[in-house]
């Protein structure tokens, strides 16, 4: 596991490592980015990974050719929209303006297949999780927690603040890759009425 200072270094390390693997210069069964770490599993020679990584990842970051860009049409009618507006010191329209005005990036996936942790909101707009999680959050729900925004790919329990919903399919076995939001993808939300 490689520990990194923040989001940008994680995405730089992840891009670099997956690129090295695609070019056949690194063997790894799994490369899993997360909030502050990149986990490698099934690596025959762990020391080699450290020789391959540049000293300063943020400086030496290879600019990925063209990150995928996706727009997610969203109806902002979530049950926690008013709570989020209060936390942000604005009203519903203000929340929608901030959320649709932010360029998000998939930092990592986890929790469930296709669940992406999206970064991009400023520190002032980070929100706590709900005190008690809901037992069922429907598929396609757009939500916020901590520094992240996310969309539930399938119905599941969840403790995030719900702000809206989308008709997009987040995880489709017919697609390759099956996840709509893969690490590094740039995401924007657009209001649908």
């Amino acid at each position: 596991m490689i520990e990194l200072p923040g989001d940008d270094a994680v995405s730089a390390a992840y891009d670099l490592l997956t690129d090295l693997r695609d070019r056949g210069e690194l063997t790894a069964a799994e490369i899993v980015p997360a909030a502050r770490t990149v986990l490698l599993d099934g690596v025959p020679d762990p020391d080699r990974v450290f020789r391959l990584l540049p000293q300063d990842l943020s400086a030496g970051a290879t600019t990925p050719a063209k990150p995928r860009q996706i727009t997610i049409g969203t109806r902002y009618d979530g049950e926690d929209l008013d709570d989020v507006a209060r936390l942000w010191g604005t009203d519903r329209a203000g929340v929608i303006a901030i959320h649709t005005g932010t360029e998000f990036r998939v930092a990592f996936c986890g929790f469930a297949p296709g669940f992406a942790y999206l970064t991009g909101l400023g520190p002032r707009h980070h929100v706590p999780r709900r005190a008690s999680p809901r037992t069922r959050v429907p598929a396609g729900t757009v939500a916020l927690a901590g520094p992240y925004s996310g969309v539930y790919p399938t119905a599941s329990p969840g403790g995030w603040q719900l702000i809206g919903r989308t008709r997009e399919t987040l995880f489709d076995l017919e697609n390759d890759p099956p996840a709509l939001l893969t690490p590094g993808t740039i995401v924007r939300f657009a209001e649908e009425t």
């Binding site: 596991m1 520990e3 899993v32 909030a35 599993d41 986890g110 297949p113 076995l173 890759p177």
Partner: protein
């Protein structure tokens, strides 16, 4: 060809070697918990190692072969009968068309593996036929009355006189590596982990083996940002009771990992019944770790 499930038993699922390589999309690896036992069953049935078989927890399966087929039973030892006659586990077994196969309750261990020549041929999901109990990918658990398709045999079963049987031990010794967050725990916690007796709790499933024993105390409080976790990771939630991740573990976790069970010991852990005593010993040398890791990654 097909296998008709008359009685599915307590918990029977279709399993192969899982869906490795998709953790970055949040897809768990899944696959047989005792992967070594499934590989052996496949070898005996004349299958490639990644063919799908049945993982039968605590036995109780009754099935009918609608055509003549070869099968093999491995994993937790227990009674096996074919057409009411006792049959040998860990050998290729020729089953006549229409015969009823009974897999009884194991005398030790938890999970019995049944491979049929040609493999269970349910449609693969993301390259695997495994039931993932965490994310719901793959076929649902096997139920009474299911008719499972069986693929065409690809090879003749091997000639085998005897296959080595690994009897699940009454007490387990697991080799453990320091984990990525061992510094989140007191020095005392690591000594406790290596010195104390733990027991497998009844709340153990395909996601993880929960243990009960002395609590492992944290040196650093507060929240750990989510990070990737591996098979065999020993995660310690707030109550200090360790949980060791098995095949259906989530791809990321937010509790610190104090240590990682050597991959070659995870199969034996997956056979440990609730109540089994567990002791941890420090894994010996770095070189061995790499060998173990390589085995994991290149095994088909």
């Amino acid at each position: 060809m097909s296998l008709e499930i008359i009685k599915a038993g307590v918990r029977t699922t279709v399993q192969d070697l899982g869906r490795p390589g998709l953790a970055h999309l949040g897809v768990p690896r899944s696959g047989a918990l005792d992967a070594g036992a499934l590989r052996l069953a496949n070898r005996l049935a004349g299958n490639p190692p990644d063919a799908a078989g049945l993982e039968i927890t605590l036995g109780g399966l009754r099935a009918r072969a609608n055509r003549a087929m070869t099968l093999a039973v491995t994993g937790a030892p227990g009674p096996v009968t074919i057409g009411r006659r006792p049959a040998d586990p860990e050998l290729p077994l020729a089953v006549p068309a229409g015969a009823v196969i009974d897999i009884g309750r194991p005398t030790a261990g938890l999970r019995v593996y049944l491979a049929v020549g040609g493999g269970i041929a349910v449609p693969p999901v993301l390259g695997s036929r495994s039931t993932d109990t965490l994310s719901g990918l793959g076929p649902g658990p096997v139920r009474d009355g299911d008719v499972l398709p069986v693929g065409p045999p690809t090879a003749l079963p091997p000639g085998v006189d005897v296959a080595l049987r690994r009897q699940p031990p009454a007490a387990l010794r697991l080799r453990v590596w320091p984990g990525p967050r061992d510094d989140w725990f007191t020095a005392d916690a690591w000594r406790t982990l290596l010195g104390a007796d733990y027991r497998v709790s009844p709340q153990t499933d395909r996601i993880g083996a929960r243990l009960t024993g002395p609590a492992l105390t944290r040196a650093i409080d507060g929240e750990l940002p989510s990070e990737g976790v591996v098979l065999g990771a020993i995660q310690v939630p707030a109550d200090g009771q360790p949980l060791i991740f098995l095949a259906d573990h989530p791809t990321t976790g937010g509790y610190p990992v104090i240590g990682v069970v050597d991959p070659s010991d995870v199969d034996r852990l997956a056979q440990a019944r609730p109540g089994t005593a567990i002791r941890f010993t420090r894994a010996p040398a770095t070189r061995d770790r790499r060998t173990a890791t390589r085995d994991q990654s290149t095994a088909p």
